[in-house]
Amino acid sequence: MTAAVFLELRNVFKTFGNFQALRGIDWDVREGEIHCLVGENGCGKSTLIKAVSGVHAPDAGGEMRIAGQEILSFDPMRARALGIQVVFQDLALFPNLSVAENIAFDANLGRGFSPKAAIRRKARETLDRLGHDLPLDLPVDSLSIAERQIVAIARGLAGSARLIFMDEPTASLTRAEVRRLLDLVRKLSAAGIAVVFVSHRLDEVSAIAERITVMRDGRMVGTYPAYALDQRTLIHLMTGIEIASHHVARDCTSRDVVLETRHLSRRGEYDDVSLCLHEGEVLGLTGLLGAGRTELALSLFGMTKPDSGALIVHGQERRFRNNQDALAAGLAYVSEDRLNLGINAEQSIVDNLDIAVLPGLANRFGLISDASRTQLARDWVARLNIKLSSVEDAINTLSGGNQQRVILARWLASHPKILILDSPTVGVDIKNKEGIYALIRELSDQGVGILVISDEMIELFATCDRILHMRNGRIAGDYNPSLITEQALEERIYA
């Protein structure tokens, strides 16, 4: 027995300038179902959500029906009035307003006096329905990420939602929090509210979804029952490419140790971490978000100071005052957050590429010629096969994959002996992912010790010689990828 269709799209297009983000979407969501929407970054998922929530108007010609009613004109207010709510990835809360006002903000729309008592009552009711208790008067910016998420969901629910979109809701949650969130989603569904869950974690998706829709390049690949898909099929559907076979792990433990930590600890971040990275070795570091992986990497790169323990680089104990010291010692670190911590978006490719090695380009008067900068940039663009029309263009004119290559070039230009890659292929399409994996293997062949931080099993198994598992700030396991399967490792991580 299938429920009635709540949302129906026929032949929906959305064009930005000369870029088609949505190309003829036909899609439906049934009442009260849990539906997962998956696809690579930039496949149009976010645009689709914005189109059905009234933030972006779709191009003329498409057809949209909500609860059987044809929608002609649309805006965020109308979308919410019809029962469509979105929990955005960035949550889109008002950090300076109270929990109560965030949940029941709809009562503040329009003009007149703000109904304070009604807002509190509504917020209290909604939180009760969710079975959560939060202090109503606290400003949202004093809450934890998970609590904020509850507020965002409560806001959707308060608006008498019939369909809630959740855009990557689990990205920054711990496992326990994710489990609670999934319970919540089931509860909503049982109450007749449809949930469209956007996620790329198959374990979550298959745990709750009834149907899975795959998007690619602004088109619908298809909608499938959840039980019919496994991760490889899903990736194949999402990318159209079969992932190449595993890289064969090498034993590098007899080579020189380039980086070693002994009982390294930093309060509240990581605890008693001892690890060894050998010359030419690719060492994976995995674990849940918040397990302390990035925090550890930042200490290795001199950006935070460990409270205790020793950091040994090329056999010498080091205490970095800052990342310039780390760079001078032959370390390099590519951040996971390319947009905020990686690129200088509006600046040119040259500027982005040579920023870390500028002092080295200077002549004896401290001056840097444009020619030497351009030359350096062109060399690296050629070596990493970065596709661009001019190195003077702003880096944000490039695709995510090419941006990441520029950032890699930034650090490779410093000729590092130890390279730390934090989620190196986030937001990179599959073709470029393969290229980056090949580059990692090539660099390791040249003797660079590489630490790959990632939670994508495919990525770890495609590159690593050894994988460390971090949990709650500690090293919880050391695995040889040849001796364990992706599923087995994943189960241990999420256990």
Binding site: M303, N344, D351, A356, L361, A362, I368
Partner: protein, 339 residues
């Protein structure tokens, strides 16, 4: 969004690259506008195209020009320095005080020159130190530069007023004025000083690690920190440099007014922001060139002198400067939107 797959050959780049770097589209457009303005005024305003008006322009421009540079460099890093006028006046007062307290009368020119150099050193150290201190406060407190420099402005200006009781301080040796108002081949020394300083600043901003880092910090300070740039040290240097430029402006102001006061040039403060933006400095940081700024200064000066010769008041000039800025800002916003 759009992936560039054309893979166009880079030979165009080879040819045009260096030219484009010295004269990017915006600067070329600005140069044309400046030229048009100059020609227009020469045709319309009698006496505009003359040695006299040229010289008066070259006398007037450097002071605002140096102050605008002092404002523009922090702006390129995403900050702002509201304390520039206060620092410049403090430098001027310090230099006059030093000179007024040294026994100059009856001594030879050599001795007087030495004393002037001593005074200049005092001013330079003071200006750079006040600027550096401002930068240090910004780095340490992580409060928005507008607020920190507002506080520094109040303190520095207040101290100057307090120590001078708000009075004008004079007592410069005549030699100072002679040098300050001298000309070389009909070109005022002040203008030459401005050109040299601007030239050095151009090289610093475009061709040193420090200068390039300034703009990178302006576009994304966090990413720049992650790129192993010592953002805090650069920030302190930015404001120290801004303080040094205030000192340079103070030297010219001393020569021009033959005195110093805590209240000189106060109305220039916000005008320097306008001049910097007009010169292509992005108020959000990340972009700006000395060439653009110099052209903007010339443009503003042409407007001022032209309208002055036409008999309009200074206030009308100020209003027109404001309108020009609004016009340019709107035009840029529209162009950006179209792209």
């Amino acid at each position: 969004m759009s992936e560039n797959l054309t893979g166009r050959n880079v030979s165009m780049d080879d040819l045009l690259g260096p030219l484009r770097r010295v004269f990017p589209a915006r600067v070329s457009g600005q140069a044309l506008a400046t030229l048009a303005l100059a020609v227009g005024f020469s045709l319309v305003v009698p006496g505009f195209f003359s040695l006299g008006s040229m010289r008066s322009m070259m006398f007037q421009l450097p002071q605002l020009g140096l102050l605008a540079l002092a404002m523009a460099i922090p702006m390129m890093s995403g900050g702002l320095n509201l304390a520039i006028i206060a620092i410049a006046n403090a430098c001027g007062l310090a230099m006059v005080t030093v000179l007024a307290h040294l026994p100059l009368a009856g001594h030879g020119a050599g001795y007087v020159t030495l004393c002037i150099l001593l005074a200049l050193m005092t001013g330079m150290v003071l200006g750079t130190a006040l600027g550096g201190l401002t930068g240090w406060l910004i780095v340490r407190t992580r409060v928005h530069p507008i607020l920190v420099t507002l506080g520094v402005m109040s303190i520095v200006e207040g101290t100057s007023i307090w120590l001078t009781r708000g009075e004008v301080i004079s007592g410069l040796p005549s030699l100072y004025g002679q040098i300050g108002n001298a000309s070389l081949l009909q070109i005022p020394l002040a203008f030459l000083v401005f050109l040299v300083v601007a030239g050095v600043m151009h090289v610093v901003l475009q061709h040193t690690s420090f200068g390039i880092s300034i703009r990178m910090i302006g576009s994304n300070a966090l990413a720049t920190r992650y790129s192993a740039v010592n953002v805090d040290r650069v920030t302190i240097r930015i404001y120290a440099l801004s303080g040094f430029l205030c000192f340079c402006a103070a030297c010219l102001m001393l020569a021009r007014y033959n005195s110093a006061s805590a209240a000189y040039a106060k109305s220039y403060l916000l005008v320097t922001v306008l001049a910097a933006v007009l010169g292509g400095v992005d108020p959000n940081g990340g972009f700006g060139r000395v060439t653009g700024l110099v052209l903007a200064m010339v443009m503003l000066q042409l407007i001022a002198t032209g309208f002055n010769l036409l008999g309009f008041s200074d206030y009308l000039t100020l209003a027109i400067w404001g309108l020009v800025l609004i016009g340019v800002a709107c035009a840029q916003a529209l162009l950006k939107k179209r792209r």
